[in-house]
Amino acid sequence: MGLLTLIVLLPLAGFLLNGLLGNRLGKGFVTAVGCGMPAIAFAVTIKCFLDLKGGGWAPLSEVAYVWTMVGQDTFEVAFWFDRLTAVMALIVTGVGTLIHIYSTGYMHEDKSYARYFAYLNLFLFFMLLLVLGKSLLVLFVGWEGVGLASYLLIGFWFGDMEKAAAGKKAFIVNRIGDAGFLLGMFVLYSAVGTLDMPKINAAFMGTPVPAVSASLVGILLFIGACGKSAQIPLYVWLPDAMAGPTPVSALIHAATMVTAGVYLVARMSGIYLHAPEASSVIAAVGALTALMAATIALAQDDIKKVLAYSTVSQLGFMFVAAGVGAYGVAVFHVYTHAFFKACLFLGAGSVIHAMSGEQDIKKMGGLARKIPITFVTFAIATAAIAGVPPLAGFFSKDEILWFALASDRGGSVLLVLVMAFTALLTAFYMFRLLWLTFFGKPRMLKEVEHHVHESPLSMTGVLMVLAVLSAVGGFLSIPHFLEPMVALPGVRPGMDAYHYWVVGGSVAIAAVGLGAAAYFFGGDASRAAAVKAGFTGVYRVLSNKYYVDELYDRVINRPLLWISDAIFLRVGDRFLIDGTLNGLASVAQRAAGRLSRVQTGSLHKYAFLVLVGMVASLVWMWRHG
């Protein structure tokens, strides 16, 4: 068994051990297996990374087994490890391990401790399948699998119908995306004859180009990416997904799974390079999603909801980068985002932990003194996402803005303005969150306030590690590292001069956002209340998330049920089909009723009829004989 297979199988073993034996063998065993397997997987991944480096960056490849072979068509379960995989796999196993460790503290009291770690390991298994898969098929298995793990973890506390419903919603919305993904895969397969991603990329980069529209394939695959990475119109599941335990939100719904769509686009860059229309769609959808989610985040009061919308918004940033051809930059943002967003979510988890489960930031305030480690790490991560230099978020966001302006693959002034405005909103709502949570007067109940306490070391330790990474992670230039694989787009002529304007603008945006938040929410936040009072209509629309859920319910859900019930069931099955059949049956019954009168019961008449019949047939034979 090769190392790559081992990486994938380790979390699976963890899942099986914890799932089957966890309840019997106790918490110590669960913790050891649950955290140990990802940690070993992380170590093996590092080993693979060193091998990759030692081998002169030639991709490692390994076939686990042949899934099936039909005639010439072979589908094998194979793994592939190149620079892009290395980045993703290191994020997944690294951040994954950290979040597992954090979970030992966060979920300590939970009755379903073993089940939790089993699911978490299951998630890692599928996520690693996703990033290590060599063919789209394996990627898809992981893709659906992480959806499953996400479904299970969102609905982890399934006793609450709303939480179970959120899990179901996530799965189904993802399935809609997956249907697009499948379509793209089928079209690709009919055209190229393979699902092997290196081969597909090579086919599109070489000549002759496959006889299929790259944009069609690109858009179909992007529909899948929209589902998984929560872009318009399929983003609605992610905010609801916050029903899951907070470390899950950090791992799945911030750091790893939701970036799978970005990974897919970067991985299939061979197609997108030949699909300018698809790329424009990606950039446009990304920009729109980023802006829309940022505006919604302004008006949310649930600490996790704010972070969820900010995730949607940041994913939009990544897709803008991918849309303008800067795939390396998109992955760079995946990487920095994994650190600071994981840190934010885990920090939020620590806050919720301290607040005895309270998530409403209106009922917080003044926590900075009481939970200092959480506060400091949360503040660093907030600064990072807002783009304060020299923290990690600054570098990746700055590059996105730069390529949104200057890329020769679709960069434009409009795009950069939208993104800059979104970045401003991001800085603003993030500092608002920070302010309302940690500064000002405590607004919680007395008994809650009394209970506020710093989290155990297993949690704060992880927070500190992630905060450090959020601070310094940006110095490792991922785009540069990935350049031999996926080149950065060229710069439009005459744009070089504006590079420093963009850098300066980024800094200014972060500063303005911080200042504005401080201005509005400093003190007793009365200025913000005044603004809110001035724009009640706008505020209501924003806090209700543009009524998109309601819209989907009216336009898709209810008509579907209505058609199924009224048309298919009542008209189709009951009226048309069964109605016709019952009609036929009753006609036959009535006819039989008439005919039965011949059956008089008198043997004499029967015998006479026999005689008549015999005579008639004799006559007939005589006439025709």
Binding site: Q599, S602, L603, H604, A607, F608
Partner: protein, 100 residues
């Protein structure tokens, strides 16, 4: 009229006699006997042809009919007995339970 024709006429008459009996008589037992008469008419016809054509097939059929007739009577008589036990009469017109 040669011998074969005469025998055939006799067979046909037997058959017609039996059929008439079945149609006009009301007594179940008599009807059964009339049925036997019909069967024997057919038997006679078969035997005649068999003899005339020198083939054994007709004779075989006659034996078959014998067996069938015996079996039929063996079942019919108990049925009639049961019927009589129920309604205390042999009049066929009272047995119209299967009327549709």
């Amino acid at each position: 009229m040669d011998k074969v024709q005469m025998l055939q006429v006799l067979a046909a008459s037997l058959f017609a006699l039996g059929l008439t009996g079945v149609i006009i008589r009301r007594n179940v037992l008599v009807m059964l006997m009339c049925m036997e008469l019909m069967l024997n008419g057919v038997n006679l016809s078969l035997a005649t042809f068999a003899h005339n054509m020198g083939s054994a097939v007709g004779a075989v059929l006659v034996f078959l009919i014998f067996v069938v007739a015996a079996a039929e009577i063996a079942i019919a008589i108990p049925i009639v007995l049961l019927l009589v036990r129920r309604k205390r009469t042999l009049d066929i017109e009272t047995y119209t339970d299967l009327k549709g």
